[in-house]
Amino acid sequence: MNFLQPGTKDGPSLRSRTLFTGLGFFLVLAFFVGPGRGTHGIARAQEPLAQRERRGKQIYVQGTAPSGKEILAYLGESSIEVPGSAMPCANCHGLDGLGKPEGGVIPTNVTWEALTKPYAVPHANGRQHPPYTERGLELAITRGTDPAGNKLLNVMPRYAIEAEDLGDLIAYLKLLGKERDPGITESKILVGTVVPARGALADMGQAVKAVTTAFFAELNSQGGIYNRQFEVKYAETADTPTATRTNVERFIKEQQIFALTGAFIAGSEKEMIPLLARQEVPLIGPLTLYPQIDFPLNRQVFYLLSGVDGQVQAMIHFAAKKPEFRTQHLAIVFPHTEINLRVVEAVKEQGKKDGVSAPQAYDYAPGHFDVAETVKQLRYHNSQVVVFLGGTEDALSLMTEADKSRWYPNVLLASASGGREIFGAPVGFDGKLFFSFPTSPADQSPDGLKQFQALAEKYKLPTHHLAAQISAYCAAKILAEALKRAGKDVSREKLIQTLEGFYEYPTGLTPAITYGPNRRVGAMGAYIVSVDLKEKQFVPASGWISLN
């Protein structure tokens, strides 16, 4: 066989077609015994290129084919078989095609220009070959030989892959390193957010929209980042989580959003987060109380502050360290919801770490809080430290009930349920009522505050919903910082990797932000404050409790 023959675009032989239309098993046979000529570029030649290349990209990056046909990799002389997904091209050759040297192995640069250099290409080990053609690439991928017939290094597997999938892959290779993620050009970058537009939260949505618009307008007025101007687009939540997902999915596609910031996903976490993972759109600082940080991680989503689970963990840590608490029976009372069950799990984990005995758990159906029975049970077990996950109203009725019998256990509440109503608690709980906060005014540096105030003044930001505004503002600030650090040649993947490198980044308004390969909550921990019921104010009860 002549390996120097230029790529054949003029159709497959009948024989190769029969060989390649079989199942993976036959493909394996084909590459061991048959000549195996490719059939790429025929069956789907009419389709727009973008489609083929998109399919090829999945093969390149994930080692699986959108066609659903199996891809197998065979390694070394003994043909160790592994699924293609364990050794996709991008593993070694990198998302940019330049190759990721490791442990003395230097993968070839597989960008089209490098492969098709019009002269004999020498490699570091002395291997030399004429330029690759499509045909040559097929042989390299399926048989492990270069255009000169040299064997490739034994860590380059030979792939059993359907001819059409192979064609898709090669179509993508021609583009590799030149493509750009959606929503980014030389002069523009598209950032999106999701705001609630109807109902009780509409006002907050307006405030978030205003601060996000202002932040990027200000950034643009300073020249943008690497000469790129920001364009901010908005999507709105709908009445149901699934409808919101549909909205946002359409939004990302139609508007070509590069990344999302400060999106309101509270209540639709389960729908939104898998969507972002699927669309590979990074989201920084979503507004939610329930970060989804279970293994395996959703790589795309970076949270600012601890959610309820993190805050309650901090409470447990606080209780375990406080001398007058640590000897007491710990109880947790919560409305029975899926989310709360996970919080309770987190509490148990934290209890183990802090060496306190597992808390007694009492659940109740949401909306059906039998407060008399709960207090009876708590008293019976002499639970002197009660972590309460229900709303403020339920918390107040619990304390009122306990007050009737002059029983005052310590009550710990997550800030989620916090409003000023809490100051209406029976005075007997003075000094016994505790709140967790994921951030505190102590985190606000003079500079951070000054910057925010200047922005608020210049753009006439609303004066209400400050917490939501600050959250959205910090999310945008982190995104901007990450884009600066990632460099001009940025992609979504690069943005994610850059964020994973954030260590103690001061936003000026929240605790310092740290992310990592296994960490998606920027400020993991909480403050505990006690409630002064006489003066009606919060009093710090702890410093920053870090949960690292």
Partner: protein, 257 residues
């Protein structure tokens, strides 16, 4: 610099000494053929971790910063710090590696199921082991190395050889037990193959002791450490060799008298 040069020479020498186990791909992978070097005999030498120019033949402290000097090279493993449990049990180490069971620390580690283990007592003691070094976000050499290890495991099982396979993470701060479990599942690792991670400091001491410590995880070498703790025979080999070659080396270790 001198210390580094010596370590490089030593490691390279060790790899060369296991020459039968190395196929030509090592040399081609490195980019150029280098003449093989003989293992140099070394005397015990201690150096400051911060000031490599401060060296001594005795234990002590660095006059510049006061840090405890660390062992850099040894002539005879018996001279190694006696903090390890098997120091007396270990027999004469194989000369080609300068490595012995007494150098395997009994640090606390986690396996891929989150169990807490003592590295030496639970994984190495009285066993024949093959140890490679991986990290789960390593994409270029770890997948082929792990796939090869899987094949080795199958062939050893076919030959009814009882050998423990161990994959140690060189990136313990990223590699949680969950990540290791995922990685193991991807390559269908069977029981008898332990993936190991742990606290950074302990893992660093483990990696240093096993000669696999690197400053940049991407520089970690595809090296496999093979040992028979019962007889005290240890050798190193190239992790990207053909599985049959590895099986030969491991079988030799298992049958070592």
């Amino acid at each position: 610099m001198l210390t580094k040069a010596i370590i490089v020479a030593l490691v390279f020498g060790l790899v060369s000494a296991a020459a039968p186990a190395i196929d030509s791909s090592l040399l081609s992978a490195r980019g150029q053929k280098k003449p093989r070097q003989k293992v140099q005999r070394q005397v015990a030498r201690y150096a400051c971790p911060m000031h490599p120019d401060i060296t001594s033949t005795k234990q002590g402290k660095c006059p510049k910063c006061g840090m405890r000097l660390r062992l850099v090279t040894v002539k005879d493993p018996v001279e190694a710090p006696a903090s390890t449990p098997a120091a007396t049990a270990a027999k004469e180490a194989d000369d080609s590696t300068g490595f012995s069971s007494s150098r395997v620390p009994d640090v606390k580690v986690y396996d891929q199921n989150g169990n807490r283990l003592n590295f030496y007592t639970d994984l190495v003691k009285n066993k024949t082991v093959a140890i490679n070094f991986i990290f789960t976000t390593c994409t270029t050499i770890c997948p082929p190395m792990t796939a090869t290890f899987r094949r080795v495991q199958q062939e050893l099982a076919n030959a009814a050889l009882d050998v423990q396979l161990i994959s140690i993470s060189v990136d313990p701060s990223t590699d949680t037990p969950e990540r290791l479990r995922d990685f193991a599942a991807k390559f269908k690792a069977a029981p008898g193959w332990t993936f190991v991670t742990g606290d950074k400091a302990e893992m660093d001491s483990l990696l240093r002791a096993l000669g696999a410590a690197v400053a940049d995880k991407n520089d970690h070498t595809p090296m496999i450490l093979v040992g028979n703790d019962t007889t005290g025979y240890w050798t190193r080999t190239y992790g990207l060799s053909a599985p049959t070659t590895l099986v030969k080396v491991i079988t030799a270790a298992a049958n070592h008298k």
